[in-house]
């Protein structure tokens, strides 16, 4: 009886959506998908890989990556901070809980077929994630994408093999915190590189500066296949990859502790 009510509700909902949209279309109200993009985006697209005037370019062909690391770098930095604070708050919520290792971890987990396949998958996925992180500024992808892919692969490993497997292999919580800190310190030092350089070279530098600008001639770049590409975004992507993946690892290790141990 209950189920049938739910499906009648569903049908009414869909009929309502269709009716409202037809009515709005007939009365010519509503959102039209535009034929053109915003002028600001034109500027962003133009200056993201404009080799003719390198003083106003970010040298990143992947425009979304250019926006998140160059034009809006501080957003991304603080977004990583939000993630970090969430982890800190999670650790603070579970701060007095200890974990005991189970030595016979090979009897835990799912069947042998799944374990073998997961090992293969881990190798393949590690390669894919690293390539996505390294090519983040040329092809789709970047630090977050690679980090979250690798983290979810590790989650699959935790679920297939049990958390003790990962801990016995040496990927403990403290190691994850250290990797995460290396990533974050790398991020912070990378965004302050131009300022340090400017102090040495006696010019002006901006926080998050990627390529030469009007007021300062600093910039990190490298040449591949005759194309000048930004090395700064590459660095930031790698550090972000480390930070995101280790952050997720902390979360998963905390979360996958068996309940029995939590109660003590």
């Amino acid at each position: 009886m209950n189920i049938s009510y739910r499906f009648i509700g569903l049908l009414l909902l869909i009929a309502m959506i269709l009716a409202i949209s037809i009515c709005t279309t007939i009365s010519n109200v509503g959102f039209n998908i535009p034929h053109d993009i915003k002028y600001l985006s034109r500027w962003v697209i133009y200056s993201s890989y404009l080799v003719t005037t390198p003083i106003f370019s970010s040298m990143v062909p992947e425009i979304v990556n250019a926006v998140i690391w160059d034009y809006r770098g501080i957003d991304t930095f603080f977004e990583t901070s939000v993630f970090y604070i969430a982890i800190i708050a999670a650790i603070a919520l579970f701060r007095e809980v200890k974990i005991e290792l189970v030595k016979e971890y090979q009897y835990l987990g799912l069947s042998k077929i799944v374990k073998t396949v997961t090992k293969t998958l881990l190798v393949i996925g590690l390669g894919a994630a690293i390539s996505i992180a390294l090519h983040g500024h040329i092809t789709p992808g970047g630090g977050f994408q690679a980090g979250s892919i690798l983290a979810s692969l590790l989650l699959i490993v935790i679920i297939v093999f049990s958390v003790h497997f990962i801990l016995m292999k040496g990927l403990t919580k403290n190691l994850a915190i250290i990797i995460r800190s290396i990533g974050l310190i790398g991020l912070v030092s990378a965004i302050f590189i131009p300022i340090l350089l400017s102090l040495i070279m006696n010019t002006y530098g901006f926080v998050f500066q990627n390529q030469p600008k009007v007021m300062s001639p600093l910039g990190l770049s490298y040449v591949a296949d005759g194309h000048v590409l930004s090395a700064m975004v590459l660095l930031l992507n790698i550090f972000e990859f480390l930070a995101i993946f280790a952050g997720f690892l902390i979360i998963f290790i905390l979360l996958s502790r068996p309940t029995k141990e939590l109660e003590n």
């Binding site: 002028y39 600001l40 957003d75 901070s81 800190i88 650790i91 919520l93 579970f94």
Partner: protein, 546 residues
């Protein structure tokens, strides 16, 4: 217009130093090291933000920082005008004084590192909100503030009430901030830009001639001449975005219909966190409302009608909020809960001041905001000392505890008088200014509300003082007297001195607050001009779209 690297690196620096503390906690176990680091970071932020304030006041120009060297609508820019510089200095000052108390507070607490880290992250987020000149960056910083507040509220994980109140607070907070993101997206889709100065420029096509700002409008206006038509087309979405964002800000600052989470959340946090949440975090919503209602959708835009309506609604909500919360406050038995309700009363006053729409009203709102930030933090930390001594928060349980600590009781009395609004403290002058601004416009109901709510609040505070000073102690609880810790004693004395100064130098402060309000209400072109100049400097000559 000056480019200041201090402004650009301040929130990032605090956040990065806050990241270091948990890493150090793996290697170092001595608490003294972390105390020194914590106090040092808080002190550093006070020094740097005061430096920013002094250079803004000294040079009479805005301080700006473009991140990555991109001209404003393309990149993110931090802006320090008089208002944000003043507010940031207040925030750093309050956090430093609360930090001095926190060091004593955590002396037997497990997991003090997490508390320190969360407080520093909260400070970075607050400063970022204040300095940010970009509405999406504002969203990110609001999320930083929000998530560290959730973490602080849920800090006592072994007790029931903090967890439940944190759950309600965080679920609603996530929902509301998602709506703010929706509003940002709507604004971007209508006007094609995210920069506050650029938005302010675009929304006033009749007043400001876009040709004067060629560089900034070249970046983001597809129809430089026909912006008025675009405004007509997108009037409905923009009004919806304005309504949504103001609604979200009233949630953050706990105005009447959205206030219900505050008493639980603010009273269940650790005491230093309560001081910061109650004194500073709710002010973030006020700041953002002022930016949206005055700088962006100001009095001269095409949105006059919807803005007037919104101001009237805010006035009504402020009146209801202050009356309701003052009655609720007088009924409480729990000391921290009482102070939390007092925060809602004062937020009501501040919103009433904002919604007058005049220079004087805004000035009184800003003055009251600063007064309340310092006074509320002070009374929270001094009550926290007494709570520690008596081991209970209940007023009847705390009976007579004040006689053991005469200095603390004296400070509590002073700060209560400040918050009630009696001379010679700052609270009196800000409430007087508020009252005058209502009388000036002939609005009798708000003026009466200020008086009545203050009287009811006074009853609540007198109940508190009577309980801790006059009532004889209950014999079952043995109270042992301990010396007042030095650091928190110093911080309380500093804050008391500052609330006295806010009262003694009231004429000067009223003048400067009036100048700030005048700047925001009338001289909004200064903001746009500063950003436009920055864009002109940073754009290389001869660059244009093919």
């Amino acid at each position: 217009m000056y480019i200041s690297i201090i402004l650009g690196s301040l929130p990032i620096l605090i956040m990065a130093l806050a990241f270091l503390l948990p890493v150090l906690s793996i290697f170092i176990k001595r608490k003294v090291v972390f105390d020194i680091c914590f106090l040092f970071i808080a002190f550093l932020s006070l020094i740097l933000s005061a430096e920013i304030l002094f250079s803004v006041v000294g040079t009479q120009e805005y301080l700006l920082y473009p991140f990555g060297g991109w001209p404003p609508p393309l990149g993110i820019v931090y802006v320090a005008d008089y208002f944000s510089a003043t507010l940031a200095t207040t925030i750093s000052f309050v956090i430093l004084t609360v930090a001095m108390y926190t060091v004593w507070y955590t002396r037997h607490l497990e997991g003090y590192v997490w508390l320190y880290t969360l407080i520093l992250a909260l400070e970075a987020g607050l400063l970022g909100v204040i300095y940010s000149g970009d509405i999406f960056n504002l969203y990110v910083m609001l999320e930083v503030v929000a998530i560290s507040s959730y973490g602080l509220v849920a800090f006592y994980t072994f007790r029931r009430r903090p967890l439940a109140s944190a759950a309600r607070y965080s679920i609603l907070g996530i929902m509301f901030l998602t709506f703010y993101f929706l509003a940002v997206v709507i604004i971007y889709s209508s006007l094609g830009t995210l920069n506050i100065g650029d938005l302010a420029l675009k929304l006033r096509p009749q007043i400001i001639h876009l040709q004067n700002y060629t560089i900034i409008s070249a970046y983001s206006s597809e129809y430089t001449n026909t912006i008025a038509e675009i405004l007509e087309e997108t009037a409905l979405p923009l009004s919806i975005a304005l309504l949504i964002s103001i609604w979200v800000f009233t949630f953050i600052s706990a105005l009447f219909p959205n206030h219900f989470w505050l008493p639980d959340a603010h009273s269940e946090a650790p005491t230093p966190a309560s001081a910061i949440l109650s004194g500073l975090v709710v002010k973030v919503g006020v700041y953002a409302s002022i930016r949206f209602l005055y700088t962006i959708f100001g009095p001269n835009t095409a949105f006059v009608h919807i803005r007037e309506l919104l101001l009237n609604v805010l006035m009504l909500l402020g009146i209801i909020s202050s009356l309701f919360a003052s009655i609720m406050m007088a009924l409480q038995d729990d000391s921290k809960r009482m102070l939390a309700y007092s925060t809602i009363v004062n937020i009501g006053f501040i919103y009433m001041g904002i919604s007058m729409g005049s220079v004087m009203g805004l000035a009184s709102a800003i003055y009251h905001l600063i007064n309340h930030a310092i006074g509320k933090a002070l009374i929270f930390i001094s009550i926290g000392l007494l709570i520690r001594a008596s081991r209970t928060r209940n007023l009847y349980g705390m009976a007579g505890i004040g006689r053991q600590y005469p200095l603390v009781t004296f400070i509590i009395i002073m700060s209560s008088l400040h918050l009630i609004g009696l001379p010679p403290f700052g609270g009196f002058f800000s409430k007087l200014l508020l009252y005058q601004s209502f009388i000036e416009k002939g609005a009798l109901v708000p003026a009466l509300t200020v008086v009545i709510a203050s009287a009811i609040v006074a009853y609540g505070y007198f109940k508190l003082i009577e309980a801790i000073w006059h009532t004889p102690p209950i014999s079952t609880i043995t109270i042992s007297r301990r010396p007042i810790p030095i650091l928190s004693g110093i911080s309380m004395v500093i804050m008391t001195a500052s609330i006295l100064m806010l009262g003694f130098f009231a004429p000067i402060i009223i003048d400067s607050v009036n100048a700030i309000a005048h700047e925001i209400v009338n001289e909004y072109t200064n903001y746009i001009e500063a950003i436009s100049k920055l864009a002109t400097i940073l754009t290389p000559k001869g660059v244009g779209l093919p």
